[in-house]
Symmetry: none
């Protein structure tokens, strides 16, 4: 899962990114609305976390702009202004949820899950493939109800594949699911993850196969 965080307090932003990465969430961060819009054009985010008070203007103004461009990415507004009437204001311009600072990361996670649960096709609560059950929201994997713990990056690869099981996932999509734009990649790191993931899956008897489509991407299916 990949988020865009629009927030001008660097400390909060760093802390949030760190906390979210423990949940397997890749976060891109910017402090300016102008950059934010450009980023949404270049990437596909699962959700956007938006601060209201920003150096170059009121964060809420970003929402209609984004919606007008056709994007329906869920937006959660983060703010110190947490009066009921202000919440109304935020929700009415097109935000999907509103979270007053300070907040618990756990609550943010829960609201994220709630907001993302909407499109059922992309965010099935649990995905079953072969003898394996994958929960891409909580990032847990079980084989025959026995938990299987995977390294973080392999887990992200698996979750991205599972969300589109039986369909090809572009190589670039996988890269975006695992790395943010600051983490440059200049080797076959992704291939290595795939390889190690394959080994772990067969060792665990997961009953699935990670298939390669040369020049296109990968595909997860039962074997």
């Amino acid at each position: 899962m990949r988020l865009l965080l629009i927030e001008d307090e660097r400390e909060l932003a760093d802390a949030l990114s760190a906390a979210l990465s423990k949940h397997g969430i890749v976060t891109d961060h910017t402090m300016h609305l102008a950059d934010a819009f450009e980023l949404t054009r270049q990437n596909t985010y699962d959700a956007i976390l938006l601060d209201r008070r920003l150096p170059d203007g009121e964060g809420l103004s970003f929402i209609p702009m984004l919606r007008r461009s056709g994007a329906d990415t869920p937006i959660i507004v983060l703010t110190a202004r947490n009066e009921p009437l202000e919440r109304v204001e935020g929700l009415d311009v097109g935000a999907d949820d509103y979270l007053g600072k300070p907040f618990l990361v756990d609550e943010l996670m829960a609201r994220l899950r709630a907001v993302l649960r909407r499109p059922p096709s992309l965010t099935e609560l649990q995905i079953t493939v072969g003898r394996m059950v994958i929960d891409p929201l909580h990032l847990s994997v079980t084989v025959e109800s026995a938990p299987l713990d995977l390294p973080r990056r392999e887990l992200l690869v698996l979750a991205a594949l599972a969300k589109r099981k039986d369909k090809t996932v572009l190589r670039s999509t996988l890269e975006a699911a695992v790395y943010n734009y600051e983490e440059e990649i200049q080797s076959n790191a992704l291939d290595a993850h795939i390889s190690r993931l394959r080994k772990r899956l067969t060792d665990a008897g997961a009953g699935v196969a990670v298939h390669n489509i040369r020049g296109v991407g990968y595909l997860l299916k039962e074997e």
Copy 2:
């Protein structure tokens, strides 16, 4: 718009119904979970307002029950228990939002609007031809829901044809779809791709045919 209100405090329920009716919202009201489930079977609601503390049990238990029955009706949980951790709990079982009592009717309205705005269906960008479904965006092809993996160039040819199925696609258009300017072509490479693609499609029983229009181009149609 029609809501189901599951709430045991009669006074609150009456007041809410009255307030909502001013917004043109029709409200069905019940105090018991058992009735609630039956009501959802008989009617279609745009959203459900659910109290947590109910005479016949914990309101939250209603959510997985409803979800399991296949309904994705938005649910807003109303409760006096408004601690962050409890909100997490509510959202995690499948609620779409969580509202602590007491609340302003205006805020409820705003949250209703937010929840209902979430898109019911993502734009289907899939093309069906014969027994085959093509997703030109994600470059994936399935035959009778079984994935069919094609080499990159053949995939590009197929996608270009599928986007204009039953219509002729100029040879030059196909070349543009498969090759960029740097990749000069000076042989019948495209013909070769067509040929190999045809073979793969018939082998897979895709139920489609690639016809040639001599001197003009090609055309994809069901066979």
